[in-house]
């Protein structure tokens, strides 16, 4: 099949794919460029000179609300969501390898968590906290709200990973005298590590960018997406784009670093 010459279908599809990628990245690059807009420049092209004015503007607290604080909160929340998502998904994935009562119900509850509108969850958690008399906080109610979005992804990924997991390796380890903890630690864990890192990346980025679920659960202090959403209605300078550039570059760094770690782990396993 590989030796066939490329047909017209290939060229049409390749061209569409390039257009699709441009469609995905084009607008993002527009705000990337416009965030270097000169001091007197506006929200649209052309560029009126080049400057770092709007980036400097970003770090003056009065100009755009609390950028530093909301960034720190989103970062901390993302890391917490990541840690809990990895641990809970791994445990649940292990549980689903065996039969237990309620397994089916728990599985469908996880799927339901994906399809239930985010704003409904936001409202529900907000109302529960209000009735119980707890203040909603980004590290309690928002953490729980974000987990209802990241956990199903993590659980479904682990479910898929263990569905394809060959049992021979564990049997071999057990035959060689390893107990179940050793089997898990030295055989299963290294094999699923790249997937686990992937689950962690999902957990972090989904939480870092989550907006609807934070709406009624973040409490007094905004997370970064809430801050940005507030800005879309009342900020009319390119400082909005500077903020977009900074957060996007941060996301890209996180993604690249994670992919590098996954590659590194894969290489080391291939060698060792």
């Amino acid at each position: 099949m590989n030796r066939e010459p490329r047909g017209i279908e290939f060229y049409v599809l390749a061209a569409s794919f390039i257009i699709f990628v441009l469609f995905l990245y084009g607008p993002l690059s527009a705000i990337l460029i416009l965030s270097f807009q000169g001091e007197n420049g506006g929200l649209t092209f052309p560029l009126n000179g080049l400057s770092f004015h709007w980036f400097a503007n970003l770090f003056e607290t009065q100009a755009v609300g609390d950028f530093g604080g909301s960034f720190r909160r989103s970062l901390a929340l993302g890391l917490m969501v990541m840690a809990v998502t990895v641990a809970v998904s791994l445990l649940a994935g292990l549980a689903f390898r065996r039969k237990f009562r309620g397994a089916s119900a728990l599985f469908y509850l996880s799927v339901a968590s994906l399809v239930i509108p985010s704003i409904v969850i936001s409202l529900g958690i907000g109302v529960v906290f209000q009735r119980v008399g707890w203040q909603p906080r980004w590290y309690t109610s928002a953490l729980g709200a974000h987990l209802t979005w990241t956990l199903p992804f993590g659980v479904l990924i682990m479910f898929a990973v263990f569905n394809r997991f060959p049992p021979e390796y564990e049997e071999a380890a057990r035959d060689l005298g390893a107990d179940s903890w050793q089997t898990f630690r030295h055989v299963v864990l290294p094999m699923i590590l790249p997937s686990l890192i992937g689950v962690g990346l999902f957990g972090f980025t989904l939480s870092y960018d989550e907006f609807a679920r934070s709406l009624m659960t973040a409490g007094t202090f905004n997370t970064l997406p809430l801050e940005i959403y507030g800005m879309t209605t009342n900020v009319t300078t390119p400082v909005l784009y500077a903020l977009g550039t900074v957060t996007t570059v941060f996301s890209l760094l996180v993604i690249t670093a994670t992919l590098a770690v996954i590659l590194f782990v894969g290489r080391r396993r291939a060698r060792g």
Partner: protein, 304 residues
């Protein structure tokens, strides 16, 4: 914090359970599943039940009062605004679904069947995935300098003399909402379809060719039927995301269009929680019906 504690406790107890192959190991799955069950129980089931309860309560400008009233439902279902908003939301869902399905299928098909090396496939797939991991709101506002009155598209069209004046409906319109949603959600279609296409046994396609099927016949009679589970999963994602969307509708329509979730959000900002809860129940029923409809075509457990 308490979650983290429960976490470490159950990790430890799960580890203990695993090391002893006695009666304890029968409980291991329960211990391992309990953190997930607790979190989903506390932050998903309980809040949904609470919404169902609160939707029957009374409220005024200051607080909610436990009660059993149907007025929240009669108010929302008796108002033509709700029906119009529902129809508008369904319209967005239908258009965005059709567009993302078409685009998603062809892009996944290209990646799975036309890109020849696995490394290239992975690289191109990652290129598609990366924007999905960045902020939705940033990706939304990035259309403003492109579509705006003095944006890239308009200024190019005016300069080329194609239109005499900037086109007004490019931004802050239903067109902009649909465009932004397709931009945001197509990935959710590409990924599951790509996944199912990659699992199609290539010998089936060769067999079809050997039996004399043309390229289109292979596509229509072999590839598309086998890709249906992926299409169904992608459809579930896209339909539920569009039905739940309020920020894209608000930002991209400039407040000129509405969705059920946006209606809820406005009631929430006015602290009319019982009214918002009634709308939440309506939205939830609508979404679950649509998902149940799609699930008739696929068994998710088998597809993982």
């Amino acid at each position: 914090m308490t979650l983290a504690m429960e976490q470490s406790v159950s990790t430890a107890s799960a580890a203990v359970a695993r090391s002893r192959p006695s009666a304890l190991s029968r409980f291991a799955p329960y211990l391992q599943a309990s953190p997930l069950a607790l979190i989903l129980g506390g932050f998903l089931l309980l809040p949904i039940l609470m919404i169902a309860v609160v939707s029957f309560w009374d409220y005024d400008f200051a607080a909610m009062y436990p009660d059993f009233l149907l007025t929240n439902y009669t108010d929302t279902l008796g108002s033509w605004v709700t029906w119009k908003t529902c129809l508008n939301t369904l319209k967005f869902a239908a258009i965005v679904w059709a567009l993302t399905l078409a685009i998603g299928f062809w892009m996944a098909y290209f990646l799975a069947f036309h890109v020849r090396t696995a490394a290239m496939q992975m690289a191109l797939f990652l290129i598609c995935t990366v924007p999905f991991l960045t902020s939705n709101i940033i990706r939304m506002i990035s259309w403003i300098p492109v579509l705006g009155r003095n944006g890239l598209v308009n200024s190019t069209l005016v300069q080329l003399g194609i239109v005499p004046a900037p086109i007004e409906w490019l931004l802050y319109s239903d067109f902009a909402v649909v465009l932004a949603m397709v931009h945001l959600y197509t990935l959710f279609m590409v990924t599951p379809i790509f996944n199912t296409l990659m699992r199609i046994d290539r010998s089936l396609i060769e067999a079809a060719r050997d039996a004399g099927a043309s390229g289109w016949q292979v596509l229509w009679n072999v590839v598309i039927p086998l890709a249906k589970p992926g299409m169904a999963i992608g459809s579930i994602f896209v339909v539920t995301l569009v039905m739940a969307d309020f920020s894209t509708v608000q930002v991209m329509s400039g407040g000129q269009s509405a969705s059920v979730a946006l209606m809820m959000k406005n009631q929430m900002s006015l602290l009319q929680y019982p009214a918002a809860a009634a709308n939440a129940v309506v939205l939830l029923a609508l979404v679950l019906l649509m998902v149940a409809g799609i699930l008739r075509f696929v068994d998710i457990r088998k597809e993982l």
